[in-house]
């Protein structure tokens, strides 16, 4: 399936992806209501957007006590907001910790790939985000990406 991939060396950490995501889905700007989020480590100049990988199997789906997380045709994970009680079990279950709850609705914010034309990819100023056909593989946790990046930059041995 097609997934949103990140080239961490290209990401400038501007968070524009979060802005276009929040506005297109929620009609206002805010990092708290975005489905893509940038993790930053200023001390290392490190910026990493994280966004749902739509894993198969999905650990959050397995842990959800209300069976509110489902897989749609085409493989995308989505939340049935009617079933969701906002317990937050999915937050800890997700492999890369990408899930967060909407601050008011208290339901998980999960990337829907904008129906096949992700706006964050389109607007990314440095082309750090791409939308690419990719086989399922276990996504790397942010700390692992950080370590590999710092090694490549020769900041750590």
């Amino acid at each position: 399936m097609k997934r949103i991939l990140v080239d961490v060396d290209r990401c400038s950490g501007c968070r524009l992806c979060e802005m276009v995501c929040s506005f297109s889905h929620e009609n206002s700007f805010g990092t708290s209501i975005s489905r893509i989020n940038v993790i930053k480590e200023d001390g290392f100049g490190f910026d990493l957007p994280i966004v749902c990988w739509h894993c198969d199997p999905c650990k959050a789906m397995e842990k959800c006590p209300e069976e509110a997380i489902e897989r749609r045709d085409g493989g995308l994970i989505s939340v049935d907001e009617k079933k969701c009680v906002g317990c937050g079990e999915c937050l800890a279950a997700c492999t890369i910790g990408v899930i967060k709850l909407h601050p008011e609705r208290k339901t998980p914010l999960i990337c829907d790939q904008c129906g096949g034309k992700p706006l964050c990819v389109e607007k990314c100023p440095t082309k750090a985000l791409t939308y690419t056909e990719t086989e399922m593989q276990e996504p790397k946790v942010p700390n692992q990406v950080l370590e590999e990046t710092l090694r490549r930059w020769r900041i750590i041995a």
Binding site: S12, L16, E26, G30, I33, D42, G43, P103, P125
Partner: protein
């Protein structure tokens, strides 16, 4: 709570003496008259910090302000202003920085945060939306900017918290310490970090879950897309993305305006070795950007070989790079990077620090300062080790560093030597561009409301040397010729007004102004569609005019007059000795006359006239100036 489009809608006041917090709605009239950011801060400074208040007393206000376009997809809106009465200059103190702090402040829900009083114990302020905590900072005392930021992130258990902090320099009451966000994003001019320290406050940390709404989303997106496209195809896009402001070093060298060995030369024989081009080729590993910006002009470097191999960090920008290389005669780029890193960690204004060191080096070179007086430091031109040692000594007020820690004006007075070569205006040290080869910039230094500084006007257009533009904009072809003096009054007035609204909208001057992406008309348009309030090109110009006049009135109330709007004698009496501006000298009188005339200010006093102030809605200032006996207003 009344909410606005674009604005957060709240102003937060924290009294550290009384341990009290008060939230008030942002007033619509304040928005319409002053926009936000610098405008909000200057207005409040005038109103709340009376004549004669000691800048380091609890009566001073420390103000953070953001703007209406910040925290959106608008690509220029990432800046914030920090203002207070300056302990360095004794007049208006104000500094501006980019990065990611400003957007977070908006998301936390505040257009302006005012800090007054003085805490009994060291504290840092942690804001999480409506929750405001004064947290114990005993464990942070003496910690540098990087350590403090990291410790606060651990303390509050949140990696993405935004921290604006001071370093040890501020705690040691160095008079030009800054407030640093995102580690290397300094709001460092005029000593506002020292004001924070005087309040027993170490940092302002914040995290917000709020959102920003747009009055007319359709028109907003159309404008944003237009501006994005223009940015991507702009001739400055790649040079800025690759080198950021460090690209200026070689440009300044070519123009013959690169301050070298304390402005005794305008060209540096080692310029290429310390250039932005070399950083890009040998040091930079990636680009970084401010919030929402499509031009990632910040760079992350790693020193791979030689001295300080293994040092890494964000930056540097032109001012610090040029200050720790050409200005002091240092040709070792690694040492310069170490110096910038040190200044950031200790929390110093790199421009003022470099001037102090260069000033001392010139005195040392002429034999007016001895090794005995410097406490054993061999302050020869380009002595990198001595420079690094001196930076630390300044931050900790040790030995000879203690003298420089009060800024170059006081240092010269105290030493009783080098007064005529102390390069400052109104107590603020001059930046890295020689005014003899840039007349508009020079006039800008002379009249700027915070002392010698280019960012109050930055009339970059004179660098084009295209008479057509001067003719078109001001009816004076010479206005845009850098070595001509005619038309500079018109030029500086126009650019000062422009910069005032740019700083009040809290947008980036590199993109808004230098890349000309936000002229007055477009500033009006984007602000109108964002906020829903009506703005026009003319209204924007008038807001700029109002801010400049109010700031000037603040200076007048503190006793500033035409006699203070001067450049140091070096620029007025000594022709540039070399380079592509060779022979140039600065004739200030005709330029000041033209400037005051354009501003409709008194020629003799250099101060705003009552009629002018009333015309732009500052009648209350006229009355106030009269009460304070500061009226040369007629």
């Amino acid at each position: 709570m009344p909410k606005f489009y674009g604005y957060a809608g709240n102003i937060l006041r924290i009294d550290l003496t009384k341990n009290q917090v008060k939230v008030q709605p942002t007033e619509e009239s304040l928005i319409k008259e002053f926009l936000g950011g610098r405008g909000f801060n200057s207005k409040r400074l005038y109103k709340e910090v009376a004549k004669g208040v000691d800048p380091l007393s609890p009566q001073n206000r420390l103000m953070f302000a953001t703007g209406p376009l910040v925290g959106t997809a608008f690509p220029l809106g990432s800046r914030f202003n920090v203002s207070a009465k300056s302990p360095l200059t004794g007049i208006l103190g104000d500094s501006n920085a980019g990065g990611h702090f400003s957007a977070e402040m908006k998301f936390a829900g505040y257009d302006q945060i005012i800090i007054q009083g003085k805490s009994r114990k060291p504290v840092y302020i942690f804001i999480e939306d409506q929750e405001i905590q004064m947290k114990d900072a005993e464990h942070l005392v003496g910690k540098d900017v990087y350590e403090t930021t990291e410790m606060i992130r651990k303390d509050v258990g949140e990696r993405m918290v935004q921290v604006a902090t001071i370093g040890p320099a501020a705690e040691n009451h160095v008079l030009f310490a800054g407030v640093f966000a995102n580690l290397a994003r300094p709001a460092a001019r005029t000593g506002i970090g020292t004001v924070m320290a005087s309040k027993n406050m170490k940092a302002l940390a914040l995290k917000g879950t709020g959102t920003v709404k747009i009055a007319d989303p359709k028109k907003f997106w159309k404008l944003v897309e237009e501006i994005d496209e223009e940015a991507y195809v702009h001739p400055q896009y790649w040079p800025r993305r690759i080198m950021g402001t460090t690209r200026i070093l070689m440009l300044a060298e070519k123009l013959g305006i690169l301050p070298t060995r304390h402005f005794t030369s305008a060209t540096f024989e080692h310029a290429a070795k310390v250039s932005g081009e070399r950083l890009a080729r040998e040091y930079n590993v990636k680009s970084r950007a401010c919030f929402s910006c499509v031009v990632p002009c910040s760079r992350f470097y790693v020193i791979r070989d030689g001295e300080y191999a293994g040092l890494y960090g964000e930056g540097p920008e032109y001012e610090a790079l040029s200050g720790f290389t050409a200005r002091v005669g240092n040709s070792n780029l690694n040492v310069a990077l170490k110096a910038v890193d040190l200044a950031n960690r200790l929390g110093l204004d790199a421009i003022t620090t470099a001037e102090g060191i260069a000033w001392a080096m010139e005195l040392y070179a002429t034999g007016d300062l001895t090794k005995k007086e410097t406490g054993g430091l061999e302050l020869k031109w380009g002595n990198g080790e001595a420079m690094l040692a001196l930076i630390e000594k300044i931050a900790y007020r040790e030995g000879f560093g203690d003298l420089l820690a009060d800024g170059v004006r006081r240092a010269a007075e105290k030493l009783g030597k080098g007064r005529e070569i102390a390069l400052h205006v109104k107590g603020l040290e001059i930046i890295q561009a020689d005014p003899r080869g840039l007349k508009g910039y020079g006039l800008g230094y002379a009249v700027a409301s915070r002392g010698a500084d280019h960012l109050r006007s930055e009339p970059f257009i004179e660098l084009s040397d295209e008479p057509g533009r001067g003719l078109e904009m001001f009816g004076v072809p010479e206005a845009t010729l850098r070595l001509a003096q005619k038309g500079k009054g018109k030029l500086v007035r126009y650019f000062e007004n422009w910069c005032a609204i740019i700083d009040s909208l809290e947008v980036c001057k590199n993109l808004a102004e230098n890349m000309e992406l936000l002229p007055f008309s477009r500033a009006a348009e984007i602000t109108e569609v964002t906020t829903g309030f009506h703005f026009t090109r003319e209204l924007m110009f008038e807001i700029g005019e109002r801010i400049i006049n109010l700031e000037s009135a603040y200076l007048v109330r503190e006793g500033i007059r035409r006699k203070d709007d001067y450049l140091p004698a070096r620029f007025l009496q000594v022709p540039l000795p070399n380079g592509n501006s060779k022979g140039a000298i600065f004739e200030i009188e005709p330029m000041l006359n033209e400037y005051y005339t354009e501003r409709e200010w008194g020629l003799r006093t250099g101060t705003p006239k009552a009629e002018k102030l009333r015309e732009i809605g500052l009648g209350y200032v006229v009355e106030d100036l009269k009460r304070n006996g500061a009226a040369r207003v007629s």
